[in-house]
Amino acid sequence: MTSQSTALIRRARQSAMILSVLASLSACSLWPGYENDKRDNARPLPGEEAQAQPVDPNLERPDVGIKQIKSQDYEVGGYAGIIVFDRNHTSGLYGVRAAYHKSENFFVEGNYAFASTVGYNQARNLLGGSDGADIKYKSFGFSAGYNLIPGDLYVSRGYTVPFVIYGIGGFGFAKFEDDSHTSYSLGAGLKMMPTDWLAIRFELRDQAWSAYGIDHNAEFTFGLAGYF
C-alpha cells in the first residue's frame, strides 16, 4: 500500500466517525422530553426563571381586601319603668329607643312608649300599695342629649365601669286616653357601660303637654341598650 492510499483510508474513517457523531447528536435532539428532563435537574441560573416564564398580560387583579373598622355609632334598646300622670295616677311604662351618637358627647334619639298595668300590678302586689291606673297612653318623640359628667367606677384592679350623667330633652306626640297632644320632655339620666357594647340607663324625665294648663308627667325608667 502506498502512502496516498493510506491517507485516503484515514480520511474516510475520520469522515465516517464525524458523520456518525453528528447523526447521534441530532438524534438526541429528537428524543422527546430530553430537554425538559435536563432542565428539571439543572440548577436555574439567576434570571433564567423569569425569562422562561414571560409575564401574562391577562392577569386578574388580586382580591386585596382592605379591612374596615367596625363602627358603633348607634344605640338601640328597650326600657321599662313607671309613669305618674299629673301627680295622680301611676302606671307601668314600656318603650323602645334608638340613638345616634354624633360625637362622644352629643346624641340624638327617637323613642316610642306606652303605658300598661301588666307587670306593674304584680310588682305593687309584692311591694304593697295600690294597683296602677288603667290609662291608655302612647307616645313617641325625638330628643337630643348631651353627656355632662363622665366618670369611672373602679370595680376591681383591672376592671372599671365607665358611666356618664347626661341631660336630655325634646318633643313628640302623646295620646292620653282619647286626646292627642304635642308633648315636650326634659330630663336627666345615668348611663353605665359595663362592656363597650352594653349600656344600662336610669332616666328621669318630665313629659309635659298642655291641656287645661300644663300637665307634668314624670317618667322613671330603667333600660338596657346595645351599641351597633
Binding site: I66, K67, Q68, I69, K70, S71, Q72, D73, H101, K102, S103, E104, N105, N147, P150, D152, T160, P162, V164, M193, D196, Y227
Partner: protein
Amino acid sequence: MSYLRWWIWVCCGLLPLAAQAEDYPSVEILVPFVELHTAPDERYPIHDIAEHGQQVSVIKRRARWYKVRTSEGKQGWVSDEQLRSSLTAAGLASLPETSSDYHP
C-alpha cells in the same frame, strides 16, 4: 321550654363564628405616643399609652374615638386626632378633619 333550649343550642353554635370574626386591621403608631382612655371621651382617665412604632389592632370606632389593642393586650380608646396619621398610612379611611383638631 323546648324553644328556649333550641335557642341556647343555636347561640352555642354561633360562638365559634363570633370568635373567628375577630380579625381587626392593624396600624403602626407614627406619633411619639397615643393615650389610651378607659372610655371614648377625653374626660375619662388615661390608663396607659402606646408608643411610637408599636402595632395596635383597631377594634372599633365610636364617633371620633377608636378602641385599640396593643400587642401586649392593653386596650383603650384613642382619639381620632392622635390615630389619624397611623390610619392614613395604613390606607384606612379616617374621619374628615374638624376645625378643632390639634396638629402638633
